[in-house]
Amino acid sequence: MDNILELHQVCKTFPRTNFTLDHVSFSIPYGSIMGFVGENGAGKTTTIGCVLNTVSKDSGTIKIFGKELADTDTELKEKIGVVYDGDNFPAYWTAEQLSDVMQGLYANWDNDLFKKYLNDFRLLPNQKIKSYSRGMTMKLAVAAALSHHPQLLILDEATSGLDPIMRDDMLDVFLEFVQDENHSILLSSHITSDLEKIADYITFIHNGKLIMAASKNDLVYNFAVMRCKESQFLELDPGDILVYRKRDYQIDVLVSNGNEIQRKYRNAVIDHVSVDEIMLLLVKGERV
């Protein structure tokens, strides 16, 4: 399967903060949504910065549409839509002025499509962005990112701070976007419920390292959490344990093959696991 975005062993160190993005590798196939999950400061924005060339990587390769993105690669940038968390555009602009500027930046800027999004999102073209609510600024950013017909949408915490209804509206827009098989989305978020709804693949990052990458179906249907007593835990085959976390009266064990584990340990209590719980176990749990 061809990939729209490929990261291979990407490293980046910030000596001042002592943060390191440590050999990050993942890929996004065409026509899919990749959820990029991690706590605040895990390295999601740095990874996206490396992808978009706003941060220069120390080593590794990043290929978008099969090519390394350089500063001068304006044709490649035409195919990428970006939404950052918070204020993407100057507060003194109106949506109309934003369109005016974007028209001069993107060869494929579609003013009619932008107007349609403004209409759909109920945004006034002449209203200053500074008077927008947070939800409205995010909708405007999504409208702008989609209005130059990108193939790859990169969303950095684009749904954080939105109320559930607005988030749901946005997720619908993203799902509609990937109906085209040539389109893909990299969606970084710490709101895992959003990713459970729309992502095809989920990649977990923690302290600058990728700790897991799996398809959502795999996570939903195969991953499970065993609730064990200490004596049961000691009897487990270490090969079955991905991570475990000691709680007050039990030990939660993350396993990647719930059905097999159920057959193997008939007395074990095995629950379905949410992406949220997987993230907690991966971040806070211990490895055997």
Binding site: G49, L52, N53, T54, V55, S56, D71, T72, T74, E75, K77, E78, I80, V82, Y84, G86, D87, N88, F89, P90, A91, Y92, W93, Q97, D100, V101, M102, Q103, G104, L105, Y106, A107, I154
Partner: protein, 216 residues
């Protein structure tokens, strides 16, 4: 480039409107009151004020994530820098127009405001030089020291620009010891303009090199 220039225009527009209104009112006063010093001040203020206002607006982009977002659009970093330089020149031209109109009307109503008419050239040359030197110093400083220090860098670059222009002027006065003839005044104006243009031309690749290393 068109989008970048529009972006710069929107950034400057609101403060330029205020400054234009101020310049208009001050211009009326300058034309009514016959004062050579006030006219000189008005001309310099127009040439320096508009371009400094344009330069100062760069910092506004970094209050939001637009400065970072812009890097993801189909533009090169060198083009972003180039657009700022062009923007400064455009607003300098606006300032020159104000200065020309102010001086022209004053001249028309009250006669030549200078000792000799060629002195007007020197005034324009000084105003343009200060403006260009200030830009040449500010742009690399802006990227080197961080967007949050826009205010202090603006003051530093303006003071340095005034100092450099005065130093060039003094140096030429000393070098040309004898009485200033028309040709010597033209030469002085030309040297000041040439030096400031050279500084701006050298500042561009330096600013691009610094900006290319910046991470957002």
């Amino acid at each position: 480039m068109k989008g970048l220039l529009k972006n710069n225009f929107y950034a400057v527009r609101s403060s330029a409107k205020v400054f234009s209104a101020f310049m208009f009112l001050l211009g009326v006063f300058v034309i009514v009151v016959v004062s050579q010093q006030l006219l000189l001040f008005y001309m310099l203020l127009g040439m320096i004020g508009f371009s400094m206002n344009a330069v100062a607006s760069m910092g506004k982009e970094y209050i939001s994530k637009w400065g970072k977002y812009k890097l993801t659009t189909p533009v090169k970093r060198a083009d972003i820098v180039k657009s700022y330089f062009i923007n400064q020149l455009i607003w300098l031209a606006v300032g020159i127009i104000f200065a020309v109109i102010g001086m022209g009307l004053s001249w028309l109503l009250h006669g030549c405001p200078f000792g000799q008419s060629i002195d007007a050239l020197l005034m324009f040359s000084a105003g343009i030089s200060i403006s260009l030197f200030a830009g040449a110093i500010f742009f690399p400083l802006f990227y080197l020291g961080g967007e949050e220090r826009t205010g202090v860098f603006l003051v530093i670059s303006l003071l340095c620009a005034i100092g450099i222009t005065m130093a060039i002027s003094t140096f030429i006065n000393i070098a040309l010891i004898s009485e200033m003839t028309i040709w010597k005044i033209i030469l002085k104006a030309a040297v000041m303009l040439a030096c400031s243009l050279l500084a701006l031309a050298l500042s561009y690749p330096l600013t691009v090199a610094i900006f290319r290393r910046k991470e957002y």
